[in-house]
């Protein structure tokens, strides 16, 4: 096993045992980033000095006989909207370059470090997390490691591409309408969007506070679950963060899908999509013995309301900047932000009411089913710059419709793991594994089952 090929838990095990040093693992990660990131543009900054310093501290702890934690010496990187102490938090925006550096790490970073992991840098994203493609005008597009002419997905595109290319074993992203699930699918890796309110967002630059989630990316389900477990826990500083105890999911993975009632989500989720997307869902469903199809009510209203809520809350959040320097804002989003800032308040109010209604009615589906399967995106990764796609004979905008199947699910706040499916076409695809609120364990158990069956797998994409 080489350091480059090792996953997070494997690195942690070897560093804790003294077989590998955190310094060597960190140096290897920094060398991979230096050698390969220029081809995919996943990183916007690398904090090598800090990483080397923290690796030395982990090695010193091991030498003293202390346990640095399950992720000892594991390099990780974060979407550049997470605060890293001493660094400017860009949130994908060039206009924030002159902002003061963050005074402390985001809570999720603090918790990963407490488990022994080492931050090595910040990752590219759509400006202010408003997008599904990571085509960032000011920082350049992040390129898909499977085909560098294509998008990585977004808005956490750098987070997914860095993991898919083997530059780091785990990373953090955020998901408002699909921004973990879309890039995980298009880059062919595992991603987890937990229940709304499960993980603290303190120190993460919010986009739409009513919808924002944070979550991890990884190349194996065990690494994904370990990362998720490390960042769980209540945080009174985030008003949306639930006061729930840590509920470790890693311990549940071995149970697989045994005893779970699994169905394929039809209705809205059978909408416009390329045939190979449907084949990916069918492959996963067949492997799990899931033959029933169930309609989840309210998903069209959910998507409409999520769209309205996103536009207005996003616009209002950035109103001061729109007043001060609209010309400095990402051209792909500035008109959407302006429209949101000028929209009637009633639309936002009604969207929040609809959210309550849809969530109440839709969760009835979990009386009969434990887990639902749905496509993550209607299309695989498109060439960078693609404006339009044709699906089912209908010409539609490519960028917003990447979130067609993710947006309604985050709107109701349900947990979702994305499992990667390779080999149906030339590019990877993703399937959403959806469970009832607070049942991330079920999403991860099913993902682990699919991984053990070889249906979901993550070959490291050649970034070289």
């Amino acid at each position: 096993m080489t350091i480059a090929a090792a996953g997070a838990l494997e690195i942690g095990r070897r560093v804790r045992s003294g077989e590998w040093s955190a310094a060597a693992v960190t140096a290897a990660a920094l060398a991979r980033i230096e050698a390969h990131d220029g081809r995919i543009n996943a990183f916007t900054s690398v904090i090598a000095e800090r990483a080397v310093r923290e690796a030395a501290a982990v090695d010193a702890a091991v030498a003293r006989g202390e346990d640095p934690g399950p992720l000892a010496g594991v390099p990780f990187a974060v979407k550049n909207l997470f605060d890293l102490a001493g660094e400017v938090t860009l949130a994908g925006s060039a206009s924030r370059r002159s902002s003061p550096p963050a005074r402390r790490d985001a809570t999720a970073v603090v918790r990963l470090r407490a488990a022994g992991a080492i931050p090595v840098g910040a990752l590219n994203m759509d400006a202010y997390a408003y997008g599904f493609t990571t085509e960032n005008t000011h920082f350049g597009p992040t390129r898909n490691p499977h085909d560098r002419a294509r998008i990585a997905g977004g808005s956490s595109g750098g987070s997914a591409a860095a993991v898919a290319a083997g530059l780091v074993p785990i990373s953090l992203g955020t998901d408002t309408n699909g921004s973990i699930r879309v890039p995980a699918a298009l880059c062919g890796i595992f991603g987890l969007k937990p229940t709304y309110g499960r993980l603290s967002r303190v120190g993460a630059h919010l986009f739409v506070g009513s919808l924002d989630h944070i979550g991890p990316f990884a190349r194996s389900v065990a690494d994904l679950a370990a990362s998720y477990d490390a960042i769980q826990g209540p945080d009174p500083s985030d008003v949306a963060c639930a006061q729930r105890p840590i509920e470790p999911a890693s311990l549940e993975l071995a149970r697989g899908a045994e005893g779970l009632r699994i169905a394929v989500a039809g209705g809205w989720f059978a909408g416009p999509q390329q045939p190979e997307v449907r084949l990916a869902v069918e492959r996963v469903a067949t492997a799990l013995g899931a033959s029933a199809e169930v309609d989840v009510p309210g998903m069209a209203r959910a998507r409409a309301a999520a769209f309205v809520m996103t536009g207005i809350e996003g616009g209002l959040l950035h109103l001061p900047e729109l007043r001060r320097d609209a010309a400095g804002i990402e051209p792909l989003i500035v008109e959407r932000l302006l429209a949101g800032a000028l929209a009637p308040a009633h639309w936002l109010w009604q969207s929040h009411r609809v959210r309550r209604q849809v969530a109440r009615e839709a969760r009835e589906v979990f009386r009969r089913w434990d887990v639902l399967l749905a496509p993550a995106t209607p299309i695989p990764a498109q060439p960078i710059g693609t404006e339009w796609v044709t699906l089912g004979g209908e010409r539609m905008l490519a960028r917003p419709n990447l979130g067609l199947f993710t947006q309604p699910v985050s709107f109701v706040g349900w947990p979702v793991a994305v499992v990667p499916v390779h080999g149906i076409g030339p590019l990877p695809l993703g399937v959403q594994v959806i469970a009832a609120p607070w049942r991330e364990d079920l999403c991860l158990r099913v993902a682990a089952q699919l991984e053990s069956l070889g249906v979901a797998a993550v070959p490291v994409a050649g970034a070289s």
Binding site: V308, R323, R336, A339, L342, Q350, R353
Partner: protein, 65 residues
């Protein structure tokens, strides 16, 4: 309540007046794009008006002093 569709001219007037009231400078090159985006939001918002919502769906945020 059924929302009444508005024309792009009507939204243009809305934008000009509300932007001025909010002290929000609007570059003329963005005006058509803002109108188009606002019309899209209006269509989606209109789709949320029916059916009527129940009192249990009121969204008042919980204030914790």
């Amino acid at each position: 309540m059924k929302a009444v569709p508005r024309s792009s001219e009507q939204w243009g007037r809305w934008i000009d007046e509300t932007a001025a009231l909010l002290d929000l400078p609007l570059d003329p090159s963005h005006r058509a794009g803002v109108i188009a985006n606002l019309q899209r939001l209006a269509e989606l918002a209109a789709s949320l008006e029916d059916p009527a919502l129940d009192v249990v769906d009121e969204s008042a945020a919980v204030f914790r002093p």
